[in-house]
Symmetry: C2
Subunit: 137 residues, 2 copies
Amino acid sequence: MERVPILKIGDILLVSIQVDMSDQTAVALQEDLAERIVATGCHGVIIDITALDIVDSFVGRMLSTIASISRVLDAETVVVGMRPAVAITLVELGLSLNGIRTALNVERGMELIAAERDHDRHDEFDDGSDVEPTASP
Amino acid sequence: MERVPILKIGDILLVSIQVDMSDQTAVALQEDLAERIVATGCHGVIIDITALDIVDSFVGRMLSTIASISRVLDAETVVVGMRPAVAITLVELGLSLNGIRTALNVERGMELIAAERDHDRHDEFDDGSDVEPTASP
């Protein structure tokens, strides 16, 4: 079975998807990524899909799942490198990448994650209270 | 034909090789990389081979060619993520990766390139002459 490599760059884990994802490969990637987030304490995950010609509902779901897993492990996920044709097809198919942030390329993805972390940190300080943040009803 | 994506991160171009390289893919990668180096003015190329189980003479030659092309375009090439088994096989096969620098992972590769650039810059200033550097006999 092929495994998608996960590269650590500073505070970010970078995944470049180049192979056709099977069920097995997708599950392995989710597991590997979760383990690496915990092991490294990284706060950002960037998934590069430059090489993908098609993002179908299977890949879309995989990306959503990865984003959700990362979120509970306190890491932001950004999908980068989407081709114009892929974006058009996604909209035509009515697929919305729920809960997934996108950026044009890896560098902008890194900026987005850095800005987001910065924002979160300021929020914590601005808050001034020591209660756990809870979702408002 | 599959194309290997090239990601730009700061002053570095990152290539993660995950697919089996054919003649065509290898040539396309060399061309794409040369174009990107010229277009971006990047001074470093990092080639990640974490996903490769085998580095045979074909892949070894491709890496050497990429390193040579990059060098004439004023960019350093570092191969990262080599698996222990791959290193052992390389030595057993008697393949030496001529002119290729290696590092353990992407981060160390980036440090190596940064240190190398720094070193080169100091050399230029220390030299103090305006003659072209020539190989000593």
